[in-house]
């Protein structure tokens, strides 16, 4: 299974938000911790709805959390 093209900064953002745990983020957005683990590893591209919920949890626009293709930053 190849890596998904949709990448994210979830891991970095969690640490910038008072070292939020995977479980805390999972509870906030209504998924299991397994899904946050899969997202951080790049093993899963979330649905649009979940992507928006995660962006809202960090109070950031979608494009600051997710990116398409290789991250240039």
């Amino acid at each position: 299974m190849g890596k998904n093209l949709v990448g994210n900064h979830i891991r970095k953002l969690r640490f910038n938000h008072d070292e939020m745990t995977q479980q805390q983020l999972a509870d906030k957005v209504g998924v299991t911790r397994q899904t946050i683990v899969a997202l951080e590893k790049g093993n899963y591209s979330p649905s649009l709805e979940l992507a928006f919920r995660i962006a809202l949890a960090f109070n950031l626009p979608l494009e600051k959390v997710f990116f398409y293709g290789e991250n240039t930053k």
């Binding site: 299974m1 890596k3 209504g30 299991t32 899904t35 790049g42 093993n43 899963y44």
Partner: protein, 148 residues
């Protein structure tokens, strides 16, 4: 390793153990002679029915024991709901599982066309049911470990 990965492995191993031990238990009970069709059909009917009931009950008991051990060893609660990733993996597991069973079903029907004994048809059907179960568990484990 996460809860779902551990659970998939436990279900896979328990499926194999239940099926193999049940087959070993039922094998000596096969009607001798083999010409009495009613007795043979009764044997295969009870084989499938009892296997289904035993599998369901065993899986429920194993799941309860697994959850208890998981809570004690990790001090975490198991997920109480299935989210979008779980549902997607479940769908993929069902698709692969059904595919394997349909292939087995067609092979079983094919065996009748080429005048094979009806026992072979039942053996292929039961074995494809087992294989489809294993395929479902392996698919889940694969996607939970490697992603979707």
């Amino acid at each position: 390793m996460t809860y779902q990965e551990k659970k998939s492995i436990v279900l896979l191993i328990s499926t194999i153990i239940i099926f193999v031990s049940y087959c070993l238990y039922m094998y000596p009970h096969y009607p001798k002679g083999g010409l009495d069709l009613n007795e043979t059909y009764r044997y295969w009917g009870s084989f499938v029915l009892i296997l289904t009931i035993v599998s369901i009950v065993a899986h429920i008991i194993i799941s309860i024991i697994f959850n208890m051990i998981f809570r004690i060893t990790t001090r975490e609660k198991e997920p109480s709901f299935a989210d979008e990733l779980d549902r997607l993996i479940e769908l993929k597991a069902h698709r692969n599982s059904f595919f394997v069973f349909i292939v087995g079903f067609l092979l079983a029907m094919g065996s009748l066309i080429i005048f094979q004994p009806s026992q072979l048809m039942f053996i292929i059907l039961i074995f494809s049911g087992f294989l489809s179960d294993v395929t479902g568990s392996v698919t889940k484990l694969y996607h939970y470990r490697r992603g979707v």
